[in-house]
Symmetry: C2
Subunit: 214 residues, 2 copies
């Protein structure tokens, strides 16, 4: 498959593919001679993953490069590779620890994890970017005057845990060993819009049931 074919089959312009090659999001093709390179199905899959990360996940190009770098790092074991890739995803700014909303949010999040008995999450709390994201999100709610505390959050957390259990079950049955890391990244990024849309659709449905359509 040459560049033009890759472009046609993916629906991405050649100029954009060149850009991704330049940015290191897509590995170079097998150089046949000085002016021709050969791409394979792996390139096509990777290209689609890149598009998914950038267009669906709104991941900045620099972050995508970092995530994919971890995915490809064969010097790491599978679990670490996956962890590294997923940890590179969120790109929230550091929370301002002076901000009282952040302080309150951190307290509520800690209380929540204790209440749930999520020991790993508690241990990893100082390191985990996800934990930081949660604090930032809860702090925003608090700052706007919505008094979300551990008690209100915990049933949500339990529901999301059920979702996570399903995610991992799916990953185990579906992905081949080599593709697991890629699958996990794709799932993390691509499945979120599905969940979000299901959530809003469910809100519409439930709202209509309670109050009618008008």
């Amino acid at each position: 498959m040459r560049l033009a074919d890759l472009s046609e089959r993916s629906g991405v312009s050649t100029a954009t593919i060149k850009y991704y090659l330049r940015e290191g999001l897509l590995p170079p093709g097998r150089q046949v001679n000085a002016t021709t390179a050969e791409y394979d199905e792996g390139h096509l899959r990777r290209l689609r993953l890149v598009r998914a990360l950038i267009q669906v996940g709104r991941v900045p190009v620099a972050t995508a490069r970092e995530v994919l770098g971890h995915v490809d790092d064969e010097s790491l074991g599978r679990t670490i590779r996956l962890g590294a890739a997923l940890w590179a995803l969120p790109q929230e700014p550091e929370p301002d620890e002076e901000d009282p909303a952040v302080v309150a949010a951190r307290r509520e999040v800690d209380a929540l994890l204790e209440r749930l008995g999520w020991e790993t999450a508690r241990e990893l709390a100082p390191l985990s970017p996800v934990h930081r994201s949660l604090v930032v999100a809860v702090a925003t709610l608090i700052r706007l005057g919505y008094p979300w505390d551990a008690e209100l959050l915990s049933p949500y957390a339990e529901l999301m845990h059920q979702v996570a259990v399903r995610d991992l079950d799916f990953m185990e049955t579906y992905a081949s060993e080599e593709e697991k890391v890629e699958t996990a990244v794709a799932a993390a990024v691509l499945f979120e819009p599905v969940l979000k849309a299901l959530h809003r659709l469910a809100q519409e449905e439930e709202s209509a049931r309670r109050y009618g359509i008008v």
Copy 2:
């Protein structure tokens, strides 16, 4: 409260506030005289909502203006106002109906709604932007080779329905009648990052339980 006070209390620069005023995201203050305007707590709350929409929700300014326009439209009843505001939120591009992935996704989504018995969602399907978002998200999964069908999706949908039930319960007990629309919009935008973070945290926790931290 003058412009400078509004700026200080919200942490938003005066230049940015002027920009929001210009863009119609923030109603003008009460004009005291030719060179002074007076702002109140409502302006502060609105300003924070605007920031939440734009910074947290990544809603484009034009969309935010549209959403807030519906929130403020007192000629509409509460339910319609809320619906209009929420419907203005998603900004996905139109799906390409020629694309086989989109066709397949639409079929699966329709099957899903039938299986769940979500009658309202089925009726509103041709109109609802949320429905469209779901189709686009599922199509992306399919295009990348993840064979998500109605059967796999429906337990997720049921879990998200449970989440939606909690959302609406909260809204009913919490928000005053006048603030319900604003609350609902804030919740729709601000609660999603919380859910997302909880989801990822739950994935980390469950993954650690199954495979260990290393």
